[in-house]
């Protein structure tokens, strides 16, 4: 079984893979008529990425049946880094040969570069996202979140994220002092808040930063969904696809 997809921009695909790489180094894509999907957890089981690129994103999309493709994302990135601006990307994968072929063609069609990547043995892993319900939701500008996370990192490894009906608050406490960022509902950075009560949880800045940074080049806004002391869901709206993350909260008390 094989699959072929031509994307207008190699850069865009490269950015998507960077966003996936924030969670996993090795991933199994499930590919069918609708598109390519990947759900994966990091080795520490703290974060999860739910990625989908639908066939509508492609200029050409051919897929017979359903297949799985496991690749080392960091190896794939090495190839994608060779892409120049304006180059288109064609991915083709043959399940029998276990090879992924990347073809980069420049805008004028005068140069064609072909990279072949050996794929890996598929290991069965988690393929469904946990079912969670959230008490609060906020749609926020991604740069504001990125800055808030970075600022918190000055004093601590953890940040307490609070969503209340009026604002989204990032609070970090450390030996050095505290850092607080308040994004008010009235402000320009907050597009929407849906919350009846205040909810909060603590998250690792390391994980937040790893995820928000690459995703910020793909989307201008992020939808944060949260319940008290429960995992946070970060959804980055992308055209013809899905990019969502879950991050587990820190265990309180003990």
């Amino acid at each position: 079984m094989s699959f072929r997809m031509r994307l207008p921009s190699a850069d865009y695909f490269s950015d998507l893979m960077k966003a996936v790489q924030a969670v996993v180094d090795e991933g199994t894509f499930k590919i069918d008529q609708e598109g390519m999907k990947l759900i994966a957890m990091d080795p520490a089981h703290i974060s999860l990425v739910d990625f989908e690129l639908s066939s509508s994103a492609a200029e050409e999309y051919v897929c017979e049946g359903e297949l799985q493709m496991t690749v080392s994302i960091s190896e794939l990135m090495k190839f994608l880094k060779r892409a120049k601006k304006g180059e288109s990307l064609t991915l083709s994968y043959d399940e029998g040969a276990k090879k992924l072929e990347l073809t980069l063609v420049d805008a004028t069609g005068s140069r064609e570069k072909i990279f072949t990547l050996n794929t890996l043995e598929t290991v069965e892993a988690r393929s469904v996202t946990p079912r969670l319900s959230f008490d609060a939701k906020a749609r926020v500008g991604v740069d504001a979140v990125k800055d808030a996370v970075r600022d918190s990192g000055v004093v601590s490894d953890y940040v307490k994220i609070t969503i209340n009906p009026d604002a989204v608050v990032f609070l970090a406490k450390g030996e050095l002092g505290t850092v607080q960022t308040k994004l008010s509902k009235m402000g320009a950075a907050v597009y929407e808040i849906e919350a009846d009560k205040e909810v909060w949880a603590h998250f690792s800045i390391n994980y937040l930063d790893k995820i928000v940074k690459p995703a910020s080049s793909l989307s201008d806004e992020v939808v944060m969904q949260l319940s008290t002391n429960k995992p946070i869901k970060l959804s980055f709206p992308i055209p013809s696809g899905r990019l969502e993350y879950l991050i587990a909260p820190r265990i309180e008390g003990a």
Binding site: M41, P43, A44, H45, I46, L132, Y207, P231, A254
Partner: protein, 431 residues
Amino acid sequence: MAELWVEKYRPKKVSEVVGNHDSVKAFVEWMKSWELGKPSKKAVLLYGPAGVGKTSLVLAYAREHGYDVVEVNASDWRNEERMKMVVGESSLQATLDGTTKKIILVDEVDGIAGREDAGGLSALRKIIDNTRTPIALVANNPWDPRLASIRDRCLMLQFRRLRKSEVIKRLKEIALAEGIKVTDAALKKLAERSEGDLRSAINDLQAIASGRKVVDVDAVEALGERNRVREIFQALRIIFNTKSLRAARAALEGLEIDLDMVYAWLIDNVPEQIPNPEELAEAYEALAKADLFLAKASREQKWKLTRYAIPLMTGGVALARRTKPHGFVKFTFPSKIRLMQKSRAERELRHSIASKIAGKLHLSSAKAITHMLPYISFIMSRGDEYAKAMASYFEFTSSETKYLAGEGGEVEVAKVAVEKKRKRTRRTKRR
């Protein structure tokens, strides 16, 4: 490729774990104590030979009680950074399902060493101190000196080789499920071969069962001998007989004994194996240099230095020996280890006494032994009310009191020494 039976028939519930009932029970109780929020120790160290169900127990418990297992295997990088990133972070976070039901499983802890895993163990030690999630460590050899500080922080659960009857019973169940007929004699043979290692027994059964419906003794015997771990004697034979540095260095490969132990074997056997004094001096010189590296490696936790120690202690000795003794000289068991084994009970007793004294008097236990033990021992030996008050103050157990009071202990030794001296002085006087 067909599914491995060891995976297919891995226990799915704790009750399906074969053998080692006491340790299994203790593990379940320890997990219960975590659920109640008051664990006695934050980590557990499951130790024992391969294939007896250490990892299986953890996985079975997780599966039965709906725990998420974060696994760190020997195939992963386990240096300080990775350890902190995966185990450290995971030990403080809840699961993605929003619960806290998580177990961290670090397999082959005794394999965390060498330059690839620099700092891994000390990072693990700190993680255990701060963890909010149960951590299960698995090791074949927990007595490696590098694991000392980890051991103190763990509930130690020993797993023994499984009984032949236990192995046979499990093999029978698997054969039945797979629809294979295995003769009783073949089962017995498989169990014997496995030496209590159920995993290897199941692997053997799968290997010979492929393509046949009936397994008999002949089929088992066709498997040949299992390639077991190389023994220290083999390694010594290579070191003392080879003339090449490469071969000597390779002698330690596949040896599941720590370097200090190998060193003890070498230093005790060198004089018998190398008759020529000049060559012996050369060999000792090499060993002395190796010792410097080993000492520095263990003192400063710089295990990468062992790569200088190994060629010196193996190759150095091998190349020093140019003449052979006549006939076969057998290897002797290192006296240091024999002595340590003999005095182990006493050392443990002394250690426990010292830590009690240290705790009450705010001393280090080393100081407690050198500065306090002789005096306390002297007072205790009188057996009067002061001795009793002393014992109750330090909360000594009866065996500790007895040891301090001098039954075979400190005072006895001192007495003998004094006696000897007296005799000697008398003798000189007579002259």
